[in-house]
């Protein structure tokens, strides 16, 4: 038995189950905060539209399946691409004008874009959402002994950890990643080497957005595909990012998973507080380590 005094006791096996579920939410936090961190590192823009792009990823999957009959597996590739393309349009038409301004304007612009995207979708698709079933190969439950885990959720944990790892490798171990890291430190110098930094910025934004879109595809079979699905999520991800600090890629990933787990535990022991636990953690981190768990002092 695992007990929190005066609150609740839980058999250990049930606790494992709950931890596993926390990990699934953590996967979404990690993917989204990772995208935010990549974008912020390079563009110095806090992408408020991240939640809307996540929603877009889910909607594109739904749309691909009902109009073109493209199944989940196709959506896993095409939806992030489509979201990335939308991001390219946003960056090329509007966002790039923000780089020379105070970073707050980037936040405000992406906030406005979010309103437009979400409002439009709500207008055309209502709020109750669209169905999107898990792919047949991943349907059904998996009996782990201590719990029944839907196969699809197991898949989400695995694939999102892989995606995070791949992103981390891409940034830390490849030539393109080296460009990105260098340009994050000193974009001007990198340009004098002949690297097209403005193009890199566009692609970075698209990549971060595609990660959000990817998370959206993963979410579509779990949550109702609704215009509202990203609205509150983005604020939670902000809190994750503040708690983790924007400093490191690994930090964003690890904080995402940790806070997902913590939220999962709260859902068992004191569910009423599960909506605010991440914010509370953020506040505590701010008191003790203002730069965030993985951040460096400015």
């Amino acid at each position: 038995m695992f007990c929190i005094p005066y609150v609740k006791c839980l058999p250990l096996v049930a606790l494992y189950g709950q931890l596993l579920l926390g990990l699934i939410n953590g996967s979404f936090y990690a993917l989204l905060s990772l995208g935010l961190a990549v974008i912020f590192g390079m563009l110095r823009v806090i992408n408020f539209a991240h939640g809307a792009l996540y929603m877009l990823g889910a909607f594109v999957s739904w749309w691909l399946s009902i109009t073109l009959g493209i199944p989940y597996w196709g959506a896993l590739i095409f939806a992030p691409l489509a979201v990335g393309l939308v991001a390219v349009l946003i960056e090329k038409s509007m966002l790039h004008q923000m780089y020379r301004l105070d970073p707050l304007y980037g936040l405000l612009l992406t906030f406005g874009i979010t309103q437009v995207i979400e409002g439009t979708f709500r207008y055309y698709y209502g709020a109750s959402g669209q169905p999107y079933p898990p792919p047949p190969a991943l349907s059904g439950p998996l009996n782990l002994g201590f719990m029944i885990l839907p196969i699809y959720r197991a898949w989400v944990v695995v694939i999102s950890i892989l995606a995070c790892l791949a992103t981390w490798l891409l940034i830390e171990r490849t030539r393109i990643g080296a460009y990105l890291r260098a340009a994050t430190e000193n974009p001007v110098l990198v340009q004098t080497f002949g690297i097209n930094v403005p193009l890199m910025m566009t692609l970075t934004y698209a990549f971060g957005a595609a990660l959000a879109g990817f998370a959206g595809v993963l979410a579509a079979p779990i949550y109702q595909v609704s215009p509202l699905m990203g609205t509150n999520l983005i604020i939670i991800v902000f809190a994750v990012v503040v708690a983790g600090g924007m400093g490191s890629i690994l930090g964003a990933i690890v904080t995402g998973y940790i806070l997902g787990l913590l939220e999962g535990l709260t859902k068992v022991f004191y569910p009423e507080a599960s909506n605010i636990v991440i914010f509370v953690v953020m506040a505590i981190v701010l008191l003790l380590r203002p730069a965030g768990l993985f951040g460096r002092a400015a």
């Binding site: 806090i46 004008q97 707050l104 936040l107 409002g119 902000f238 809190a239 914010f279 203002p290």
Partner: protein
């Protein structure tokens, strides 16, 4: 650097003749308006004008973008409504209690948020306000999504019957004018001079011996209290306090009002509030999603129109001498 880096509209603004003229025109308009336009709508505009101006005190004169200001507006609405309805406090005391509660909340949020700067500050205020929203959703005294309803309007100072919309309008006008006077006073006070100095160049202000964090925190609390004054008044006008007040979307709207009217100008936020509330009210019947329109205005403002209405006018006047 503050968000003001691109514009220089604020300096010495209210001293010019132009401003006296604007002020006079505004006063006349405010006095005549309720006879032409529906007073309840005007009261809504006035409350949000004060809310936006309180917000502007922070962004325009201290350079802090709070993305959670609705928490103060909404908290004051709840406390005022509760005080008037359950405790039976007289209306003016209820509003005052609400404003003080908002200031107290501002102290807590500000204390945490001031620890980080720039964009982080915004994200933290947003997150804390969202946390406050969830708390409001769940604590019993707010009555969840039903809100506190049927708040008595009562009488103001014991003799103005507030059930009369016109009489109430002038009371709201007086409260909002007093709030604006307070903001004007703060901006043009010795304290305000230091705030502007911190906004312009924080390291330099520190090197002159000013503990900038403490000044920012005090400004934050003042701004929260004034936002609360607006929220409390709004609660009495509509006789209710609901979750809408504390939603983060409301924080977004107040940013829009200020941006649209002109950040760092004193006339801007009320102008922005009038336009935004006007759009929300008069477009409610049009089959076009209001949020999309608001979003579009936001985008256009940020891209092309960063000085806002008042800022553009000031810049135009300045160019013409």
């Amino acid at each position: 650097m503050s968000i003001l880096a691109q514009q220089s509209a604020a300096t010495g603004e209210l001293r010019s003749r132009l401003n006296l003229l604007t002020l006079a025109a505004g006063a006349v308009a405010a006095l005549v308006a309720p006879f032409v336009i529906y007073p309840v709508f005007l009261m809504n505009v006035l409350c949000f004008a004060l809310f936006a101006s309180a917000f502007n005190l922070l962004i325009g004169f201290v350079g802090l973008l709070s993305f959670g200001h609705a928490a103060f507006f909404g908290a004051a609405a709840y406390v005022t409504a509760h005080a008037a309805k359950v405790w039976g406090l007289p209306t003016e005391l209820a509003i005052l209690t609400g404003a003080l509660a908002a200031a107290a909340l501002g102290l807590i949020v500000g204390f945490l948020a001031i620890r980080r700067q720039g964009i982080y500050f915004s994200m933290i205020t947003l997150a804390l306000a969202q946390m406050f929203y969830f708390i409001c959703l769940e604590v019993p005294f707010t009555h969840g999504e039903d809100g506190i309803q049927g708040v008595p309007r009562g009488t103001f100072l014991g003799f103005v019957n507030l059930d009369n919309n016109l009489a109430f309008y002038f009371v709201v006008l007086a409260i909002v004018a007093a709030g604006h006077f307070a903001i004007w006073r703060i901006v043009h006070s010795p304290f305000g001079n230091i705030l502007k100095a911190i906004r312009d160049n924080e390291p330099r202000a520190i090197s002159l011996g000013y503990n900038s964090d403490s000044y920012k925190l005090r400004a934050f609390v003042l701004s929260a209290g004034l936002a609360g004054l607006a929220g409390g008044t709004n609660a009495i006008v509509f006789q209710l306090a609901t979750l809408t007040g504390v939603q983060w979307q409301s924080s977004g709207e107040v940013i829009l009002m200020t941006l649209l009217g002109g950040i760092g100008t004193l006339a801007g936020p009320p102008i922005g509030a009038a336009i935004t509330i006007g759009l929300q009210t008069y477009l409610a019947a049009v089959d076009f999603p209001v949020t999309v329109l608001i979003g579009l205005i936001f985008v256009v403002c940020v891209l092309l129109f960063r000085r806002g209405v008042a800022g553009e006018i000031l810049a135009y006047m300045r160019k013409r001498g």
